[in-house]
Amino acid sequence: MAQASSVSVAFLGSGGAGVITTGGLLLEAACSAGWYGLLTRSVGPQIRGGEAAAMLRLAAHPLDCHADHFDLLIAVDWLNAQRFALEISLGPHTLVISDPRGGEVPDFVAAAGARVIEIPMKEMTKATPEWRANMIALGAAARLLGMREGVMQELITRRFGAKGTTVVQANLGAAQAGAKAVANLELPVRLPVPQAGPTKRWRITGNEAIGLGAVRGGVRFAAAYPITPASEILEWLAPNLPRVGGVLVQAEDELASINMIIGGSYGGAPALTATSGPGLSLMIEGIGLAAAAEVPIVVVDVMRGGPSTGIPTKSEQADLNIAVYGLHGDAPHIVVAPQSVSDCLFTAQWATYLAEALQVPALVLSDQFLGQAQAAIERPADAAFVGQRLTASEFAVPYQRYALGGTDVSPMAIPGTRGGQYTADGLTHTERGTPTSAATEHRAQLDKRDNKLKRFDYGDHWATLQGRGKVAVLTWGSLTGAAQEAISIARADGLEVRLIAPRLLSPARPEQMAAALAGVQRLLVIEQTHSAQFYRYLRAHYQLPSNTRVLHGAGPLPIRPGDIHRELLAEKAA
């Protein structure tokens, strides 16, 4: 049995079979045992029924992406499982556990040449009606991963204790039966024994991390309209904002939520809303108002498959164009993108800081993969970025809210401040805020809004830069983890590859990007869009090496480390 750097497990079943719960419980158990992990789910659009899969990867080190193949697949049943053929990639080494009464084993399992073992989970629950098949699956998986029995016992007691001893005993019994059923089986790979770290680890989703990061950055007001896959950000903020003196209100639609946060921020409270593509489309006019009236706001877009309603439950990176270019008129604003679950915290915090410092809308482009993935990570380091708005308390008469000069960030009077009364306006305005249609004043204010963003020092956080090779990977957002993993595999092959992953997408950083690309002879651009939006964006703003290739593909199928590694091998051969 080989020592593996990570092990990947998938649970499959029809909706309501409880496989998502099983995935969560196994991650929790693995975390208590000291491993790191990443858990994602793939579900159909139905709330109940349909198909569901929990995909879990465990390792002795933090993980930011899934592996190329699964080592273990447990199917509680095979109903609609064929739909996962591409998402759950199997190989000849994969151990598949199937219920003989769970329906026909789908073609993709046989095609992979995987080893299929039957465990009669349904039969067992018939014999002992208080058992659940998903708990049998949990016990089997824990045993195959080499988890101590005590870990599972503690977990089940902790999670089900509130429901009484009978429930705890039933679930323990089911898990033990599952473990017993696989007692004679072994996975071809095994994880190294986990090491408990000196610091407390966290189990958190990207959406929760966005919420916490925003609060750390100073957000105290949120307006919410529900949308998949962003609602969890708002649902985390709803009970937690009041704990720090803030508040969340539910809006009647996204037109309202964006304007509510503009009103709240105008009133002095750093403000945020979160949405996904269709909601972002509705908010765009409001974001332009915030740009023109210079009101700081944070808008999180958890991207899903588009256009239109698209695939609400699955990931894509195709909102890049609308986020960067979607506003009418010339409306400079910030666009940032987190690169991992852990980085969701930092990036949301930084976005809040930038919005407040620059009195500008800041868009955070997360995606369904990051947002709904649950990761066991090291506690993210504290960052010093807390929103500090330049406010005015003493005024010349009349007060010039949009005064030119200096950094072009002009002091903002907060309602209630005597002598600072002004009217914020989406109309082109003078320095005082009075509407005007004069060419000179229009240009002066456009320059002001442009300059304040261009002249700001964004520091090293604008991008993640790693390695020094003549071959470079240029990617963004949630693909950064897969790129890093591919690069480390390539390094083991003797190919040194540089990583450039901009966290700041707008405004562009031409000088910094030129420095990052210095000496790069061959460039591989990687992105999850159908139309290569990121590549076109890069071409518009940066000088790329003449030898540049693009690996791009629409969601929801993620680009895996192996896909990138194959492209890198081609670069090596070239």
């Binding site: 407390k200 307006a223 009041p242 003196g245 969340l248 332009g288 506690r379 209630g416």
Partner: protein, 277 residues
């Protein structure tokens, strides 16, 4: 009695030095005057007041006052005001809108602002027409009113905003006529003082695209019944009146919406405990 306070506030204290650019004879001049008179009577410091608007002739008012103001995008004044009032309950927040801005493009926000019942005052200057875009029919335009966009009329029945406000939960409903400045000012004072969401519809003639509305000054009359606290009764009167009854029509006693900010402020480190393994 404090005589000093009484003389301290004049309508002009609440006016900015920016000259309005409405058409001569527009009803909105009188609404501005009524609003500033009302603010003077309330005696609030101008920096404690915010006047919020969307787009349209009526929405120009914020910049003509000496208060804090926000001239936002078309139809979204109520959400702007909602965000401001939620985070700044200490501010007196007034929304100025028109029949296109408030009832058509902003119609959904109108329903939900009534329902939410924050302590806001909405003043809609209703002239049954889109003035700023030069004369298209609004939700309160008569079906046979001929316009370039709807030759021969829209054929659509106008709706009754006051009844909609009642059905949606507004806590104070009144109709005023811009030409009656003192009366309108006094209704606005009442509306601002009344807790919760107050809605004042002001019939404000558009002399350019609706010269027929010059006759309104002869058509308006005091509502024949006193204000009620029964929304069903108020709605029945409104459904059957001629549309020219002016005065306070409904005063409710619903508790205003006050979202909870929580009692105490905990350390940020407390928030992360739930994530610790």
């Amino acid at each position: 009695m404090n005589a000093e306070l009484k003389v301290a506030h004049k309508a002009s204290d609440y006016k900015s030095d920016i000259a309005p650019i409405w058409c001569p004879g527009c009803g909105d001049y009188h609404v501005l005057l009524s609003l500033t008179r009302a603010l003077a009577e309330l005696g609030l410091p101008p920096e404690q007041i915010a006047v919020i608007s969307g787009i349209g002739c009526s929405s120009r008012i914020p910049a003509y006052t000496n208060c804090y103001g926000f001239h936002g995008v078309h139809g979204r004044a109520l959400p702007l005001a909602t965000g401001l009032k939620v985070v700044r309950p200490d501010q007196t927040v007034i929304v100025t809108s028109g029949d296109g801005d408030g009832y058509s493009i902003g119609g959904n926000h109108f329903l939900h602002a009534c329902r939410r019942n924050l302590d806001l005052t909405l003043i809609v200057m209703d002239n049954h027409i889109y003035g700023m875009t030069k004369g298209q029919p609004s939700p309160t335009t008569e079906p046979d009113f001929d316009t370039a966009l709807t030759p021969g009329g829209s054929g659509l029945r106008p709706f009754n905003p006051l009844v909609i406000a009642l059905a949606s939960g507004a806590n104070f409903v009144a109709r005023a006529f811009s030409g009656n400045v003192s009366e309108t000012a006094s209704i606005i004072v009442d509306a601002i003082r009344h807790p919760g969401f107050s809605f004042v519809e002001v019939l404000s003639p558009c002399v350019t695209f609706r010269p027929d509305q010059k006759a309104w000054k002869n058509q308006v009359h005091p509502a024949p019944v006193a204000a009620t606290d029964d929304p069903a009764r108020a709605a029945r009167h409104l459904m059957s009146d001629d549309g020219f009854n002016v005065g306070v029509l409904y005063r409710g006693d619903r508790q205003p919406y006050r979202p909870s900010f929580g009692g105490t402020t905990c350390d940020l480190a407390e928030l992360e405990k739930e994530f610790e393994i």
